[in-house]
Each structure stands twice: as structure tokens, then as C-alpha cells.
């Protein structure tokens, strides 16, 4: 029924290796064949390189990875919960919903706090972006971007602008905020970043002048806001990058990213180099967040676990999991002291973990759909959670 002018196989068993997958139609010795992308590449290299084949490269990479794991294990002389035995248990927490922010018409995908500790910006799937005063529940600014899925939003350090990451246009734009409520902010939108696939995360660096973005095209990039110029790009992920976080450390030159290739990578912002990589998760990594001191970071994944990675020891040091938790974790954030880890899950709850003792301290119920993001306020007084149930909640 559909235009079948040219019959072509697009999916099925590869003529060369037999694996089922997306196929490419190519010609070998004037005959059309259907190969998978790996075999096409093997074909393309055959006879053109002596000695080095894809197979030997693969073997070398596997051997090196094993060696790296061994090296990492050598300095592992104690486990985190052992070291934490001597500290006191966290007392019972009394965290309740203190505010419910209603106003979005669709799933709330992302939120970010302003440095003034009470304002926040949130974005949703219907293209609406709202700047709230969380304390008074006042909607201070609203931008409507029809036909886009605003998957990422970030507040500028100065509090004068917000950055929005687009799921359909593949751009990240910056919008200056105005005090005039009636001003149509959509007209002042300025495109800064351009990716070839959806923008999954964006954040300002320590000033309003630069933004860091992560994208479904597998790369992260650093942009100059003024000129829209690409300052640095970061390649190394082999699938969509879903999240990134800037290091709070004094040198402030690194950031961590996590993606669908189950890897989390630490990058040097100036050189674009991949400094460290961790491959412990069993499924997509949805969120990465630094420990307040900058010496570690946590990641949340679809495999229903959150993990803590120590950057100086260069290894995973804790896994936060329970048999009763079967749904993926979508977002994590640390409390101000780093003792508590808040994790939002796809089973509509937020689990509060004791980071050092590796136990669960509390569960927060209230949302009626998946949690898309949790974020602790800059002074640590409250936690904000954004959810697919169209609301945001502030807990304290």
C-alpha cells in the first residue's frame, strides 16, 4: 500500500554475520547485499589496513579494560559501610510536602533552583516554562514554546536568565528574565547551542556567559552564550547522553556525564579529554550528581540502583539498592552535608538514602506519577521534586 517503488530490506538478519538488526544495502562485486553496520565497516576496511583489524582492536580494548579493573581493585582496602560504622545513625527525619506547585498542563520534565534559594524554573512537555517563587507559589514569569518538549532547563547564576533545552528543535536557548510579567519572553529567546538530536541536559558554568549541554547525539558541548560559538565538544559516549553535572571543586574545570551506554564519564572542560570512565551500571544512567565536596559523584539508573563513585580512588564505592525497589531511578541529589541522597524513582516515590551507611532512611510519597527530577535548594533548606503528574512539590 505504501510506496513500494523500490523494495529494500531495512531490518532483518545480516547476510554476513546473521545477527538481526538494522541493515544497510550495499554492493559487493556488483551484487546487492544486506549487511549490518558492523559488517559494512569490516568490509570497508578489508584490504586497506595491514595487521590491524577490527577484531584485534576489540581484543586489545577488552584486555585493557580488564587490566584497569584490576588496578582499581588493588587499593581497595576497606568498604564504605565499614568506615561508617563508627558514625551515628541518622535520626528519624520528618520530611513532608510543604508546597505543591500547580500550573503545568503536561509532564514536568525538569526544574532548577535559583541562587536566591526560593525561586525556581520548571519546564514541561507542553512547551511551557514557568519561573516560580516557590515560597509564595507566585508564578513570576511564563514562556510558551509550542511544539517543543523542553527537556532541560537551568537558572543562570545571576538569576537574570534561564536556559532551555529543546527535545525537538535540538537547540538550547537562553531567555533573559524581565520584571514585566506581561512581556512576551518567547520573542527574546536566543539560540545558543545546536545539536543533531534532542538536548537532554543543560547547565550554566559559574557565570551567565557559558553553558554546557548534553544531547541525544552522544556528545556534550560547551558554548559561549554571547556569540553562540562552540567552545569545546566532548565525544566518547556511544549512545545518548542523558545528564551532566558541573564539579563544585575549587579548580572547577571538570564535569561528569551519564548516558544510555551505561557509562559515566568525567571530562576536562578545557581540553575536552575524557579523564575517567565508569561502567558499572546495568542499564541507562538517567542522572549524575556530584557529592558536595567534589570528590565523588552519584548516578541514578534504570537498573533501579544508585551508585556512588569515588574520583580519587577511581572506583565505585557504594550501591544503593533494595530488592523491593524494582523501578528505575530517574534523578538524584545530595543534601547539603552530603550525608543524605535523595533519589526519585519511576514508582512515584522518593527514597532517602544514608550515603555513608548505605541504608535507606526514609521514603517520601505524594506524587501521582513518575518523578522526573529532584533537586535540593542551594542553602539545603528544601528539596524540590518535579513529576509527570504535572506538579512540583517542595519538601522540608
Amino acid at each position: 500500500m505504501c510506496d513500494q517503488t523500490f523494495m529494500a530490506a531495512t531490518f532483518g538478519p545480516c547476510d554476513s554475520c546473521g545477527k538481526t538488526g538494522p541493515l544497510m544495502n550495499i554492493y559487493i562485486k556488483n551484487e546487492p547485499v544486506n549487511y549490518c553496520s558492523f559488517c559494512v565497516e569490516v568490509m570497508a576496511y578489508r584490504g586497506l589496513q595491514k595487521g590491524e583489524t577490527l577484531e584485534t582492536l576489540r581484543q586489545e580494548s577488552d584486555t585493557l579494560k580488564k587490566k584497569l579493573e584490576e588496578e582499581r581493585g588493588k587499593l581497595n582496602d576497606v568498604e564504605l559501610h565499614q568506615v561508617a560504622e563508627k558514625i551515628e545513625v541518622v535520626g528519624a527525619l520528618s520530611i513532608k510536602t510543604r508546597r505543591v506547585l500547580k500550573g503545568h498542563g503536561n509532564k514536568v520534565l525538569c526544574m532548577d533552583w535559583c541562587k536566591d534559594k526560593r525561586r525556581l524554573v520548571s519546564s514541561s512537555q507542553d512547551g511551557k516554562v514557568i519561573v516560580w517563587d516557590g515560597f509564595t507559589l507566585n508564578k513570576e514569569n511564563g514562556v510558551s514554546l509550542p511544539c517543543t518538549w523542553v527537556m532541560a532547563c537551568a537558572y543562570a547564576p545571576s538569576g537574570c536568565a534561564v536556559a532551555l533545552g529543546d527535545g525537538l528543535d535540538n537547540k538550547c536557548s537562553v531567555i533573559p528574565l524581565s520584571l514585566d510579567k506581561n512581556e512576551n519572553l518567547a520573542t527574546k529567546k536566543k539560540s545558543v547551542a545546536m545539536h543533531t538530536n534532542y538536548v537532554s541536559g543543560c547547565t550554566f558554568t559559574s557565570s551567565d556567559m557559558q553553558i554546557l549541554t548534553s544531547s541525544g547525539d552522544g556528545s556534550c558541548a560547551l558554548w559561549d552564550v554571547e556569540s553562540g560559538q562552540l567552545l569545546q565538544s566532548f565525544h566518547g559516549h556511544t549512545a545518548d547522553v542523558l545528564s551532566l553535572d558541573l564539579s563544585p571543586s575549587e579548580t572547577g574545570n571538570t564535569f561528569v556525564s551519564g548516558g544510555c551506554d551505561k557509562k559515566s564519564c568525567v571530562w576536562d572542560m578545557r581540553s575536552g579529554q575524557n579523564i575517567q570512565t565508569f561502567e558499572n551500571h546495568e542499564s541507562d544512567i538517567n542522572c549524575v550528581k556530584y557529592y558536595p565536596s567534589g570528590d565523588a559523584f552519584a548516578s541514578a539508573s534504570d537498573d533501579a540502583t544508585c551508585r556512588l563513585y569515588d574520583l580519587r580512588a577511581d572506583r565505585e564505592v557504594a550501591i544503593y539498592q533494595k530488592d523491593s525497589i524494582i523501578f528505575g531511578a530517574s534523578s538524584v541529589d545530595f543534601s547539603l552535608s552530603g550525608r543524605l541522597l535523595f533519589a526519585g524513582y519511576n514508582d512515584y516515590s522518593i527514597n532517602v538514602w544514608d550515603v555513608l551507611k548505605v541504608t535507606r532512611v526514609s521514603i517520601l510519597f505524594g506524587h501521582e506519577n513518575r518523578i522526573s527530577r529532584v533537586c535540593v535548594s542551594p542553602d539545603g533548606t528544601a528539596l524540590c521534586s518535579a513529576s509527570w503528574d504535572h506538579t512540583l512539590r517542595i519538601w522540608a
Binding site: 517503488t5 587499593l75 568506615v83 528519624a92 542553602d379
Partner: protein
């Protein structure tokens, strides 16, 4: 080409859902009974089968929305036959055609660089160098990057052209349009690294080799670090210890924020204590930095902090002002005989002066680091021990705890702070674990 095209995340699945919905509409539109009327369209002298014109299309779309039509063209599910071929829906009589499933975005996702190279090579051979500007750019880049497979690329291009010559002209035009529409939608950016297996594996090998050479720290030391950090900051963590006079979100009283505003006549005790935790804490607090500057002025070394601030401004400020800011910094801090000359070691100085000739955002980084660590190792510890700081700490206020509206089993923060002043940082939790039924949470 990505390593595992099937390892896509949930967002990709969402996107695919969007594409699949569009595909459902496309299939419905081509339904022989209920769909659009298609017929042979004359394009110059060739007759193209199964095309539709503007009028029919609009009639169909009016019931579904012009916006949907625009989206279908934009994502390549419907393509125009007439020049100029773009992804915009024209509301006129120009003929359009449905894209073949082979070229649907969802089936071919992600677009492969090798494929694109073959397409451009074909176009180049066929049209003898009549590529568009952006196509020329990508052609050159690809030629450089996957040079080792260029024979294969050209061979494939020639084969495909040979095969298409054996088709009827109408089919050839259709195939051309289909391919062009597909690549208009899916053209890869110039800067994207060629993600072929060879490149990725080589990258992994390189990263592993570098990682093997890293210095690692023993676990026991690292983990102790976390314990110490959490203990040090526990008192400052409102969610764990409450805050004085009260948590604004709980009591609806903003006194806590007012007392901890950027500039206040009398800072709180907790705030001043934090300045002694690390140099970064001191510098990131506006008042702390001011106090530190006052101290440095007494020691006649305030140019260090001023230099550091000027460098921060360069690093994080507007690109257009970088050159003039670097000039200023050189004049005030680095030039021989400068008013506020900073003491940097000769090696760093030489490197910085060299870099200033071609100023960029990070040209001051090394010098800035040097001065930062100088202050951190020398001036900062002395400041913390100084009378200036001790007086600040003594003057600092401890807000009275206000009565909370709701029942809470937090240990009283006021009590905790009093204990802390006795140099004992350990606070016994007031609430016992286990039988606490406050709030809506439970273990």
C-alpha cells in the same frame, strides 16, 4: 553509525513514538479507499506516478490540521518533487509524494556517516561538482576523516549509479527526490566525530591506557574524607539538623533568609564557622571575601586577592571584553613596576606573558592557580588564626529558635549550637530511632 543502535534510552523511545504516530498517519493517507487521491503528475516532461498536488492535500489536511502536514514534510515523510526542494509545506499546486519506508527516519536511525559519504560521492559524480555549500564542506571533512575507506565509498557510489541507470527515468527522479529529502532531514553535522567502530575502539584503548597511568588514592583515605566532610557539615544541613530561627518552608517565616542575606550587619555564627572549613568557602561568601581582603590589606598582600578576582572576571566574563581585560590585568599586576605587582614564579610568569600576546579566556589560568594556592597555603591559615577572624566569630549572632507551627522531633538547633561552642561537634540525636511517628515518612 553508533556502536549499538539498539541500546537507546527511554527518551529515544519517546521520540520513536512520535515518528511511529506520524507513520500511522502517512499509512492512513495512502489508504486506497479513505486516503488521498493520487495520480500521475507531470513534472516538466516526465510523468511521476503516485503523486499528489496541493489542492487535494489541503482538503485532506483541513480535517487534520495544517500543522500536522508541516511536521510530516519537515521530518521527511512527504517530499516535494519540484525544485527548490525544501522541507517546507507549500500551499500551492506543487506536487508531493510519500517517502518510501526505506527512508523513514525511524528505520534508518541513526543516519550513518558512511552512507552520507556515499550519497555525496554519488551526487558529485553525477552532477560534476554541483554540490551545495554545506554539502561541499561535509564532503571535504568526510574525505579527510574516513580517508581510509574512500575507495569503498567511491566504489559503492559508482555501483549505485550504475544500478539506477538501468531504471526508468521516472523512477530515477523519484529515487533522487527520496534520497535528497532523507538527507535534508538527517544530514550529520560537520563537527560530529565519525563514530565508526574503529574510532570508538581506538578511543577506548587510548582512554584505558591513560587511566592505567593515573595516581589512585587508597580507599580508606578517600572514604575517611567523606565521613569527615559529612560530620563537619552536619550542623549546617537544614534537612538533617533544622535551621535557626526556623526553616522558612516549614514555618512560613523568612527570617532565616533575611539573617543570611549576602550582606548583613551581623552574620550568623554558623556562617562565620563555615569560613574556616575551606578556602573556597571563605571566598565564595561575599562577606567572607571582604573580611579576608581587610586582613590582607593589613598584611600588604591584598594585590593577590585583587589579581585572583580580575582573573575570575576574565574566565567567566563576556568574550568580547577578554582582550581589554587581559590588558588591564597586565598593566596593573604583571608589568614590571606595576602598581599592584603580584609575585609569581618566573616560569609561570614567562608562560603567561607569552600567552598574553594572543589573549584568550584561559590565558591567566596558570598564574591564577599559583596565586590561589599561595593564598590558600599561607594567608588563609593565618587569617583563620587571626584576631580579626576570632572577633568576627565572637560577634556572630546565634538566632533564637522560634516555635515551630508543626510537631517536629528535630533536636533543638539552639541546644546543638550551644554544644558546638564547647568545641564538641558531636550532637546526640534527640529523637530516638524506631518509634518515631512524626510526618508522613517511614523507613
Amino acid at each position: 553509525m553508533t556502536i549499538n543502535p539498539l541500546a537507546k534510552g527511554s527518551w529515544h523511545r519517546e521520540q520513536m513514538l512520535g515518528f511511529r504516530k506520524m507513520e500511522k498517519v502517512i499509512v492512513a493517507m495512502q489508504d486506497p479507499d479513505m486516503g488521498m487521491k493520487m495520480r500521475n503528475q507531470r513534472l516538466l516532461i516526465t510523468v511521476i506516478p503516485h503523486a499528489m498536488t496541493g489542492v487535494f492535500r489541503l482538503v485532506w489536511f483541513l480535517t487534520e490540521g495544517l500543522h500536522l502536514g508541516a511536521m510530516l514534510v519537515r521530518y521527511g515523510y512527504i517530499y516535494p518533487l519540484k525544485e527548490p526542494r525544501s522541507l517546507v509545506l507549500q500551499a500551492d499546486e506543487s506536487p508531493y509524494r510519500f517517502q518510501t519506508p526505506y527512508f523513514w527516519t525511524s528505520t534508518r536511525w541513526p543516519a550513518s556517516e558512511l552512507d552520507y559519504a556515499i550519497y555525496l560521492a554519488k551526487k558529485n559524480i553525477r552532477k560534476q561538482g554541483e554540490l551545495m555549500e554545506y554539502e561541499k564542506e561535509r564532503y571535504n571533512v568526510l574525505h579527510k576523516r574516513i580517508n581510509h575507506t574512500w575507495d569503498f565509498v567511491v566504489m559503492q557510489a559508482r555501483e549505485q549509479l550504475r544500478a539506477s541507470k538501468q531504471r526508468r527515468k521516472a523512477d530515477r527522479i523519484v529515487l533522487e527526490c527520496q534520497e535528497q529529502a532523507y538527507w535534508l532531514v538527517n544530514r550529520p553535522p560537520v563537527r560530529l566525530l565519525v563514530l565508526c567502530y574503529k574510532t570508538v575502539l581506538s578511543c577506548v584503548i587510548e582512554t584505558c591506557r591513560r587511566a592505567l597511568g593515573r595516581n589512585r588514592v587508597k580507599s580508606s583515605i578517600c572514604l575517611e574524607g567523606f565521613v569527615k566532610y559529612s560530620e563537619q557539615y552536619q550542623m549546617h544541613d537544614p534537612i538533617m539538623q533544622g535551621c535557626l530561627p526556623s526553616n522558612p518552608w516549614i514555618s512560613d517565616d523568612t527570617a532565616h533568609w533575611t539573617m543570611n542575606a549576602e550582606i548583613v550587619p551581623a552574620p550568623t555564627r554558623l556562617r562565620v564557622e563555615r569560613w574556616s572549613f575551606s578556602f573556597m568557602e571563605l571566598l565564595s561568601d561575599v562577606m567572607g571575601r571582604r573580611e579576608f581582603m581587610t586582613y590582607l590589606e593589613k598584611e600588604f598582600s591584598e594585590e593577590n586577592l585583587r589579581f585572583w578576582e580580575a582573573c575570575e572576571d576574565i574566565r567567566h566574563g563576556e568574550s568580547s571584553k577578554i582582550t581589554e581585560k587581559v590588558e588591564e590585568v597586565y598593566k596593573n599586576f604583571l608589568a614590571p613596576g606595576a602598581a599592584h605587582w603580584v609575585n609569581i614564579d618566573s616560569k609561570t610568569m614567562d608562560k603567561t606573558l607569552e600567552g598574553i600576546k594572543h589573549p584568550h579566556r584561559f590565558v591567566m589560568d596558570d598564574a591564577q592557580m599559583h596565586i590561589y594556592f599561595l593564598m590558600k597555603k599561607d594567608s588563609y591559615p593565618r587569617y583563620i588564626k587571626s584576631d580579626l577572624y576570632k572577633n568576627m566569630l565572637a560577634k556572630a549572632i546565634v538566632p533564637q529558635e522560634t516555635k515551630k507551627r508543626l510537631n517536629s522531633h528535630f533536636p533543638s538547633p539552639a541546644q546543638a549550637v550551644t554544644q558546638a561552642t564547647k568545641e564538641d561537634r558531636r550532637v546526640k540525636q534527640a529523637g530516638q530511632t524506631g518509634t518515631n511517628t512524626a510526618g508522613g515518612s517511614h523507613v
